[in-house]
């Protein structure tokens, strides 16, 4: 694993949002949206990032693109230290990394035509000019399954699925090597979800970009990912190759998530694991293991000791004290 080539390498990333109040804006505390997260993505690989709402998935996704500045940690992309780049270098590196958003209704400028929206990245990086530019836009529209004659239409004339395709065309316009998909299919109807997922997989097969695919939907994650990381309250609690994770989940949180996944076999009996309580506040996380407040198998030491991610099998890392026995 270690000698494998890394496209993106994040170490001990932290994003803390300060909580300020009072006349002099005293800092009262911090929301630990991303709390000491390390992971990597190989070229052409899809890492699925799964977790419930509010666990910091979206923040992590934006942080690796430096759309949100990390509070601490290191971030390497294509061998370069991302956090050391100045504004100008960062801007030019942005063509290598892109993002696809969750809400297709807010991700497109309502006052810009589809053509201008897709042409924008090409114009920013001065890649095409004049007729070539519009030919490229038409080509991109074709690649994502839009009709090039819709080039002068406005976003409100399209359905959610079509809008998502526009967002995808914008993201692939610069041939990036890495795309963050921030719940790109969650807002779509199930039938459209499948189409968009397949489009993303086709594009990957064609251009070989890597995805960080964020979702709360395990079926979607299972469909698209090569490896899966499970996030809970700002931390990665388990990370493994897809099949390994779905067959052999080690962390009690992952086990609970997988138990909630419907299985297409009515005769198969499974033990339901019901998690009690709500996600604790990331502004005031529990002591010890963050999951101990809801863990069905917790022991006394879980309240005091914070577990570290440990490799239990090649490429399979879990953060749970109970595995130390």
């Amino acid at each position: 694993m270690e000698n494998q080539q890394k496209l993106l390498d994040a170490k001990s990333l932290k994003v803390h949002f300060p909580i300020r109040a009072g006349f002099f804006s005293n800092q009262l505390g911090a929301v630990r949206a991303v709390d000491d997260v390390s992971f990597h993505i190989a070229p052409g690989e899809t890492l699925g990032l799964v977790g419930e709402s509010g666990c910091g998935k979206t923040t992590l996704g934006r942080c690796v693109l430096r759309l949100i500045e990390p509070t601490a940690g290191t971030l390497e992309f294509e061998g370069r230290d991302l956090l050391a780049l100045d504004k100008k270098d960062m801007r030019s590196l942005r063509r290598r990394m892109q993002i696809i958003f969750q809400d297709p209704y807010s991700s497109l400028n309502p006052r810009m035509t589809v053509g201008n929206t897709i042409a924008e990245p090409l114009k920013i990086h001065s890649l095409f000019k004049g007729k070539d530019l519009w030919d490229r836009v038409a080509e991109l529209m074709g690649q994502v399954g839009l009709r090039p004659e819709q080039i002068k239409r406005y976003p409100h004339e399209f359905s959610g699925g079509q809008r998502q395709r526009i967002g995808i065309a914008r993201a692939i316009a610069l041939n990036p090597s890495f795309i963050v998909g921030d719940e790109p299919v969650s807002a779509l109807d199930v039938s459209v979800q499948a189409q968009v997922l397949n489009l993303l997989m086709d594009l990957k097969a064609k251009y070989g970009m890597a995805y960080l695919f964020i979702s709360h939907d395990l079926s979607v994650i299972r469909h698209i990912s090569d490896r899966v990381a499970v996030m809970y309250l700002g931390k990665i609690v388990e990370e493994a190759a897809r099949d390994e994770l779905f067959k052999n989940p080690q962390h009690p949180y992952t086990q609970a998530l997988l138990a909630s996944l419907p299985v297409p076999d009515p005769r198969m009996r499974r033990k339901a694991i019901i998690l009690s309580g709500d996600l604790p506040s990331p502004a005031n996380p529990p002591s010890g293991c963050y999951f101990h407040t809801r863990c069905p198998v917790k022991e006394k030491r879980c309240e005091e000791q914070a577990p570290q991610l440990k490799e239990v099998a090649p490429g399979h890392r879990v953060s749970c004290l109970l595995l130390d026995r």
Binding site: R62, L65, L67, M90, R91, S92, R94, R95, M97, Q98, I99, F101, Q102, D103, S106, S107, L108, N109, P110, R111, M112, T113, G115, N116, E120, P121, I124, H125, K152, R153, Y154, H156, E157, G167, R170, L174
Partner: protein
């Protein structure tokens, strides 16, 4: 290239305006002001500056529909020329206020942090001045001249626009399409002007329309006090001033310019409110 869809948005707004009787009446009043002001030389029955001592203070009659003033000048003609002042004051002073307000609000809302803090505290300070007395003081120091009046109304009236634009920027800069533009490597300048500003203009348009009504009132008041438009240039406010000395026996000198101010201000206000409803994106 943006014709087709822009037309759809524009036609949605127009369709809503046409359905609103307030918009029709307000729009008609404003349109009338524009027509009178632009075509004043062709519409006026008399030269507004010609003094006719034989027909002093005539009540409205067939030859002089709105009567004559104390120098025998035709009141209707003077009021039509006065419409030019009102139109100009409204557009120029609110134009100045809107430009300053948009720039301050955009920078404040987009960059945030200490820039925002500094600019908004400056806005707070500006708002503590009683605007009208500030204008009086400035005009008293400068020449009482229509250009000065317009500039002073403009630079004392931008704070509301700045706050409005700042609020729009604060909410719009969080939207995904703005984050998308940043992730594409777009420059701050183009993010502000291509992505955020076009989506923030609807409330600015409404506030400008309503602001014009206020500016016209301010100009009338200043002219009434004799420190706005200087004679012999006719303005509704200055006609009112001249009329007040004769109000006991020449009511037409006060009533008609007063009505003109009323109708114009009401027209702009109705139009502004109708625009606010028509541009409301939540109704889309």
């Amino acid at each position: 290239m943006s014709k087709q869809g822009e037309k759809t948005y524009f036609s949605i707004v127009m369709a809503r305006l046409v359905k609103n009787p307030f918009a029709i009446w307000g729009g008609a009043a404003v349109a009338l002001l524009f027509i009178l002001a632009i075509f004043a030389p062709f519409i006026c029955p008399y030269d507004p500056g010609v003094v006719e001592t034989r027909i002093l203070l005539q009540a409205p009659n067939a030859k002089h529909w709105l009567g004559t003033d104390e120098l025998g000048r035709d009141v209707l003609s003077r009021m039509i020329y006065g419409a030019r002042i009102s139109l100009m004051v409204g557009i120029v002073s609110i134009g100045i206020a809107t430009v300053i307000g948009v720039i301050v609000g955009a920078i404040s809302g987009y960059y945030g942090g200490w820039v925002d803090e500094l600019m908004m505290r400056f806005v707070d300070i500006m708002l503590t001045f009683p605007t009208f007395f500030l204008i009086l003081a400035v005009i008293a120091i400068l020449e009482p001249d229509i250009m000065n009046v317009m500039i002073v109304i403009g630079i004392t009236g931008w704070m509301g626009v700045a706050r409005l634009v700042r609020a729009e920027f604060l909410s719009l800069k969080q939207r995904d399409f703005v984050v998308a533009a940043r992730s594409l490597g777009q420059s701050d300048f183009l993010i502000i002007f291509k992505h955020i500003l076009p989506n923030a203009m609807a409330p600015v348009l409404v506030s400008a329309t309503l602001g014009i009504a206020g500016a016209i009132l301010t100009e009338s008041a200043l002219s009434f006090l004799g420190i706005g438009v200087q004679p012999p240039t006719p303005s509704w406010g200055s006609i009112l001033t001249e009329g007040k000395n004769y109000i006991e026996f020449a009511w037409w000198l006060s009533v008609f310019p007063g009505l003109a101010i009323l109708i114009t201000v009401l027209g702009y206000n109705l139009l502004g409110e109708a625009l606010r409803d028509a541009l409301d994106t939540r109704l889309n």
